[in-house]
């Protein structure tokens, strides 16, 4: 059978094309599907069917979103010699008060924003992203993840990775939905989902990341055969922060990722891979476990990348990668909301990457990682010195945080309040990271990103003092 014949004969929904048997050909399958020029109308039907398979994940509002007319108008008439465009109400660059700019890199080199570049930086841009930056992030994505379904993969630049995450969740979530998340979980994500009053299915996460056995357990009420076609009453996406997880600092192992992907495939679940600390794993880059995106033969992973920890948080630039039928709809939403990340920010990030070169950028993030690793080690020393016996912890394998369990304490909320009031030390109580309300947590989260050695030492000394005082009182 030719590849096309195999697709046509395939009974399973397009998402399951990436089964083991097809694995080697999955790239070919996808590229065949997506090379519209070689598809006749019958094959386009298959492509539409694949598009249709993704509709299951979208709520009513998201499935109704369409591309904005103005974008269609611009896309249809490309820039070619002699065309006079009086379509978009773009402000005239002659009136811009800023003509040019220059920025000095840490190593002393200069980025020059000459007049044409400055004009571009101040003008409206495309909702997908500044062209040169798009090329750079595509290259990085290919280099680190080589997504198996690359021809069916779409990327766009977001105003920070959280913006992309909220677009994705808003497109899929309905009130009262079942949602699978890390437990404990990044509070920023909980803040997106809480207002929908979802039914959280928290999956235990530890030093090695999300636990597949715990995932199987939370999914056990559902029959996978029925679940993967159902549109209501089943969990449809899974959120995870797999590397340097906020707050646990765990890094999900390769084995666990493969197992989790397999489970997601069985239940036809979208994986939201939120990975801002990807480069902050405390190991050599060559030893990074594969990302979910790199394992994604089905086309079920939406990945969120960020420049916030590697280059700049304040510029608000991140990017999203995933299956084209889903990502294009998220972009429709971006078209009529944020429009695009600040062009000035995008141009600057792109120029920094250009000057560094891809290898230079990786060298840069290696240094950043080294720094945070040394910060982690300093905090580990301080913790060992002051908190042994009083607290328990796993050594973070990535990220910026220690997740510490206070021995003999059921809930740290009152404790952290007292700590700030009487000892003038502020740490975050673990309850803020729990998906359900009205729960108790014996954990505290402590950041080592900016504290000095002295601050760590003094801070932990004060924490130990309070813990000992509390223990004495409780006796």
């Amino acid at each position: 059978m030719t590849v096309l014949e195999r697709i046509k004969s395939c009974q399973a929904p397009a998402l399951h094309l990436g089964k083991r048997g097809f694995k080697d050909e999955s790239v070919t399958i996808c590229s065949v599907l997506c090379e519209n020029t070689i598809l006749n109308s019958a094959d386009k039907t298959i492509y539409k069917r694949m598009d249709h398979q993704y509709l299951r994940f979208l709520n009513d509002i998201a499935s109704e979103r369409k591309e904005s007319l103005l974008r269609v108008t611009f896309n249809e008439q490309n820039e070619s010699a002699g065309i006079i465009k009086m379509g978009g109400g773009m402000p005239n660059p002659k009136l811009s008060p800023i003509r040019e700019g220059s920025l000095t890199l840490a190593d002393g080199r200069m980025i020059t924003l000459n007049e044409p570049l400055m004009e571009e930086a101040l003008q409206y841009g495309s909702s997908t992203g500044y062209g040169p930056l798009m090329k750079q992030i595509e290259s990085l994505t290919q280099r680190f993840h080589a997504p198996p379904c690359w021809p069916n993969t779409m990327m766009f630049v977001t105003a920070g990775s959280l913006s992309g995450l909220s677009l994705a969740i808003e497109a899929m979530i309905s009130k009262g939905d079942y949602i699978i998340i890390d437990n404990p979980c990044y509070p920023g994500t909980l803040a997106i989902t809480d207002p929908y009053k979802p039914r959280y299915l928290g999956v235990e996460a530890d030093a090695d990341g999300m636990n597949p056995e715990s995932l199987r357990s939370v999914l056990s009420p559902w029959n996978p055969q029925k679940a993967r076609e159902a549109t209501h009453g089943v969990p449809k996406f899974l959120y995870t922060n797999p590397n340097g997880c906020n707050p646990t600092g765990g890094v999900t192992t390769t084995e666990r990722k493969k197992e989790i992907y397999k489970i997601a495939s069985e239940y036809n679940i979208i994986i939201l891979e939120d990975d801002p600390y990807y480069f902050l794993q405390f190991r050599d880059q060559k030893d990074f476990p594969p990302s979910y995106l790199s394992l994604d033969v089905d086309g079920r992973v939406i990945r969120f990348d960020s420049f916030s920890k590697s280059l700049s948080a304040g510029l608000r630039v991140g990017y999203i990668t995933g299956p084209q039928p889903l990502i294009k709809r998220l972009n429709y939403h971006q078209q009529c909301s944020v429009s695009h990340a600040s062009m000035l920010s995008q141009v600057i990030i792109s120029e920094i990457l250009r000057l560094m070169g891809e290898d230079g950028f990786l060298e840069h993030v290696r240094k950043v990682q080294e720094f945070y690793r040394s910060q982690r080690d300093k905090m580990l020393d301080a913790a060992t010195k002051h908190l042994s016996g009083l607290c328990q912890w796993d050594v973070p394998a990535g990220g910026m945080f220690f997740w510490m369990k206070v021995v003999g304490v059921k809930d740290t909320l009152k404790l952290t309040k007292k700590l700030s009031e009487t000892k003038r030390v502020i740490v975050i109580p673990g309850v803020g990271f729990l998906p359900q309300e009205n729960q108790a947590s014996p954990y505290i989260r402590i950041s080592f990103s900016t504290a000095t050695k002295q601050e760590m030492d003094e801070g932990f000394r004060r924490i130990a003092e309070l813990l000992k005082e509390e223990a004495a009182v409780n006796k």
């Binding site: 009086m86 105003a159 207002p195 009053k197 304040g314 078209q335 009529c336 950043v368």
Partner: protein
């Protein structure tokens, strides 16, 4: 006269919006920003600034003035900031708003920065709209607003407009099916907000008169509607007379959310605008910002803040005056070109503001195919008016022409080609009719 009574703003919020709260981490971030010396903060995962790739920078303004981003400023530009806006910029914008619009009940309002007006618009829709809601808007209206609301399958109440903008009588007519007292209290199945782009309306270019604004405001009070005032062309009004008051200026009952931006005066690429409105509604928008973009780019905000500093109040006024003069001349040019090439074929009103001209093609009932399929061959791009109509599938004879950035000679040539295109289209239509 200021009314002492306060509105119940929860009536305008969706269930999901009512559930939105401040995020724990953002609250603690704000706490950390207070930076008291004797406290030890080990909470926020703020990236360490020693690794920021940029150390300092500068921008050169058109007149040669330099905006300096020194080491400390650059750190701020590259670091996370507070949701709601960079505080020094927020202060400046509050002062500007007070000066230009002098809103009543100032202490009941809050101002926040947003990622351009579009971001604010989307946030208000998310805040207030449920599926199948009634939506009041002008016909024609800003096409991207339609893209925003269409997915909710709204019941659109389209209000008629003329050369002076939205017609108050038509608004009254659309609301006449409801008893105002009952509608004011109802939570479901009634319109709850009115979207307005009153100045240099996109696409019609009309400027709503002062009298009509007052009448419309009164109607909104009667029927308890929130007014979304989308006003990016406030400074592009082609008149030497005093500007009509903004809805914010008229807002004695604190029911206006005004959206404004620096896209047309400084640059759309920076993505900076602001929203000002009743505190409890703006707070919800800030909570939403906390879980989406987090905040407007720190670099954009700080740069704008510095530009406004360098200019001072006078400098800013001078700049917007220059902008207005420039677009005014462009408006005159485009109208002259239209008179030269299109007077037999088309009808139009002279735009009183904004960056668009709204042209009706006399003998072509629907311009969609002509512009989307045949205009490319004529090498001219114009936007069919269909997208600005609440019912985009109905035939539409209107064309939206943007005159902001095309050199005048090219406008002339574009209209010459457009006239040819129309004539060809008319003969196609004749021949198909047999």
């Amino acid at each position: 006269m200021e009314s002492a009574s306060r509105m119940d703003y929860t009536r305008f919020m969706t269930d999901v919006t009512k559930n939105r709260k401040a995020t724990l981490l953002r609250d603690l971030f704000n706490l950390q920003q207070q930076g008291r010396d004797d406290w030890i903060y080990v909470i926020a995962g703020l990236p360490n600034e020693s690794f920021f790739p940029l150390k300092e920078g500068q921008f050169t303004m058109a007149d040669g003035t330099k905006i300096i981003l020194d080491k400390n400023t650059m750190k701020e530009c590259l670091q996370y900031g507070p949701s709601g806006g960079y505080p020094p910029l927020v202060k400046q914008l509050e002062a500007m708003v007070k000066k230009h619009h002098n809103p009543p009940r100032w202490s009941e309002r809050k101002l926040m920065t947003i990622n351009g007006i579009q971001d604010g618009l989307a946030a208000t829709v998310t805040m207030m709209m449920n599926e199948r809601d009634f939506v009041l808007l002008a016909k024609p209206t800003y096409s991207t607003y339609l893209s925003l609301i269409q997915p909710y399958s709204p019941r659109i109440l389209a209000i008629e407009t003329d050369e002076n903008g939205l017609i108050p009588g038509s608004l009254k007519g659309a609301l006449s099916r409801w008893n105002p007292k009952e509608m004011s209290k109802a939570h479901k199945d009634v319109p709850k907000f009115l979207y307005m782009n009153p100045t240099g309306n996109n696409p019609t270019g009309t400027v709503l008169s002062a009298d009509r604004r007052r009448e419309i405001y009164d109607i909104c009070c009667q029927y308890n509607l929130i007014i979304i005032e989308d006003d990016p062309y406030y400074f592009e009004q082609y008149t030497s007379e005093a500007y009509p008051p903004t809805f914010l200026e008229l807002d004695t009952e604190c029911r206006v959310i005004r959206l404004d931006s620096f896209s047309k005066t400084i640059g759309g690429g920076l993505r900076i605008g602001y929203a000002i409105g009743p505190k409890s509604l703006i707070e919800k928008l800030i909570f939403y910002q906390q879980v989406t973009t987090q905040h407007v780019s720190s670099l954009s905000q700080i740069t704008l803040h510095q530009i406004l500093n360098v200019w001072g109040e006078d400098g800013y006024e001078q700049h917007v005056e220059k902008v207005k003069e420039f677009y005014w001349k462009k408006r005159d040019d485009v109208v002259a070109c239209a008179e030269k090439h299109l007077s037999e074929l088309c009808e139009w009103n002279v735009p009183g503001g904004g960056l668009f001209m709204w042209i009706k093609v006399k003998n072509i009932p629907d311009v969609w195919d002509m512009l989307m399929k045949r205009a490319a061959a004529k090498k001219v791009v114009l936007v069919p008016g269909n997208g600005s109509m609440p019912d985009s599938s109905s035939p539409c004879p209107y064309v939206r022409v943007a005159f902001s950035h095309t050199p005048t000679e090219k406008i002339e040539e574009a209209f010459r080609r457009f006239a040819e295109l129309i004539r060809e289209e008319m003969s196609i239509n004749k021949s198909t009719k047999g």
